[in-house]
Symmetry: C2
Subunit: 305 residues, 2 copies
Amino acid sequence: MELGVYTFAEVAGGDAGRRLRELVEEMVLADEVGLDVFGVGEHHRRDFAVSAPVVTLAAGAARTRRIRLTSAVTVLSSDDPVRVFQAFATLDGISDGRAEIMAGRGSFIESFPLFGYDLEDYDELFAEKLELLLALRASERVSWSGRHRAPLDGLGVYPRPVQDPLPIWIAVGGTPGSVVRAARLGLALAVAIIGGAPERFVPLVDLYRDEARAAGHDRAALPVSINSHAYVADTSQRAADEFFRPYAAMMTRIGRERGWPPMTRAQYDQLRGPRGALVVGSPRRWRRRSSSSTSSSATTASSRR
Amino acid sequence: MELGVYTFAEVAGGDAGRRLRELVEEMVLADEVGLDVFGVGEHHRRDFAVSAPVVTLAAGAARTRRIRLTSAVTVLSSDDPVRVFQAFATLDGISDGRAEIMAGRGSFIESFPLFGYDLEDYDELFAEKLELLLALRASERVSWSGRHRAPLDGLGVYPRPVQDPLPIWIAVGGTPGSVVRAARLGLALAVAIIGGAPERFVPLVDLYRDEARAAGHDRAALPVSINSHAYVADTSQRAADEFFRPYAAMMTRIGRERGWPPMTRAQYDQLRGPRGALVVGSPRRWRRRSSSSTSSSATTASSRR
C-alpha cells in the first residue's frame, strides 16, 4: 500500500503567494518523512491558492527526490489536453519520472464559464478530452478530431515524458459510469470519499475490477486509491476536537453553495468514527510507512494499493 | 543596467528530460553568479525541450533566491490569456514576486495549427489576447469579449500575483507596429537582435520612446532590453572558434525551414564583430555585475536598462 496527501491549498487570510510557498515546503516535508505521493487540486476560486497545479508541483519537484507528484484533480473537461500533456511531460522531465495526472470531470464548476464551456456537455467534454489525452500519451504524432477542441493532423507534441506511459488516473466521486469508463480504458481509479462510510464504495470498486477483467485488462496493473479528508494530532481525541471547527466551517461554506445544511458536531463525529470517511488520528496510526510524521494540517489522505 | 540569459533549451541527443533538469541547474547557477534575469522560450518542436516555460521556471523558482524569471517568449497569440495569467501569478507567488511575462506573436509558427489558430489572424490574435491579459492584470474580476476566446462576464481569476502590476514585456523582432503597440500601452520593450547590427535597431527604440512620450507614459517606467545570441569562453578568439560550428549548424537547420542559405564563417565573423549582434567574448567582459561567471553554454544574453 502507498500513502500520501492531497491538498487544495486553502487560503487562510487571503495571502495566496505565502500559501503557495508553504505548499512547496509541505512537499519537501512529505518527501522527507517518506510519503509516497503528494497531490494538488485545481480550483478557480479566491479561497484556494492553486489554479495551476502543475506549476506548483514543478516547484516541489525541484526540491524533492523520491515522492510522486500528481494533480488532484486536473479538471480535464475545461482544459486543453495538448497543454495538459505538455505541462505534465515537462514535470515528468524535471522530476525524472515522478509525475502523474489525475483527471476528473470536476467537483467545483467555476472552470466551465471561465474557459467557455457549457455544463450541459459535462460528460461529453470529459470523454472526448480523455480520448485525446490518451492518444497524445500513446504517440508522438497524433491525428484526431472532436467537437470541443481543434483537430490535430499528425502534429508532434513535445516534450515526451520520461515515463512511458505517463501515469493517468481517473478520479471519480461515485458515478458508476465514470468507474466503468476507467475500467474499460485500463486506467487507474481514484475514489474520492468526502462523505459517507467507505463501505458504501466497495460495490464501486467491485464494479471497476469486474469491468476491467471483462475488458481484458490485468488487475495488477490497475491500482485503486481512496481519498478522504484527514487531520493528524498527538491523540485522536485532540485531533477530533481541533479539527471540528475549521472542517465544519469549510464544509458549511462550500455546502452553502450546494444547498447543504450547516455541518453539526454530531454529523462530524459520525463521519470520523472508526468506519467514517474522515481520517482523524494520532501520528502512531500513520507510522506504517513513514519514519516520522509531523504533518498536522488539513489535507486529504490517499491510500493506494 | 541589468544582465541576464535566455535559453530555448535546445535538446542535444534527444533527451528532453535530462535537458529540463540541466535547465534548472542553469537557473541555480545564474542566480548564484548574480545575473538579474533568466528567461526560457516556448517552442513546440522536438529540438527544443520547453513547450511550457512557466512549469520550468517554477522549478527554478524553488531553488533560487534573487534572480527574476521570465518567459522568452510566451506565444500569447496561440494561448489562453486566463491560463497564462494564472500560471504566471502562481510563479509569482512561488518566487515571492520574481515572475515576468514576455509576450510575443511568435517567431516559430508550430503553435498555431497545434492549438487551432489561423496564421491569417496573426496580429489580431495577439492584439486581442494582450488586451485580455492586461485586463486580468488590472482587475480581479473581468468582463470582456472578443473574437478568439470565450467571453468573461465578471468572473474572478486567481491566484492574484504578488507584484502589482505583474511585469509584462512585449517582445518584438523588428516590426514597427509592434513597437508602437508596446509604447502606447505603456509596456516594457524586449528587442530580439538575432541578425544584423544593433545600430539598425536604434530607430526602433527611438520610435518606442517617442510614442510612449506622446501617449503620456513615463519613460523611466518603460525599460528596453536587447537580446542577442551569446557564447562565453576564456578568450574572445576561443569563444568565436568554439561557437562557430554549433551556432552555424543551428542557424542553418532553422534557416532551411525559412528559406535562408547556410551560414558561412564570413557571415558569422561579421555578426560577431565589435558591432555585431552576436555576443562572443571572455568572462572579463561580463564582470560588470557578476562576481564570477562560469557559464559557457549557447544562450541569449539580455541587457535591460
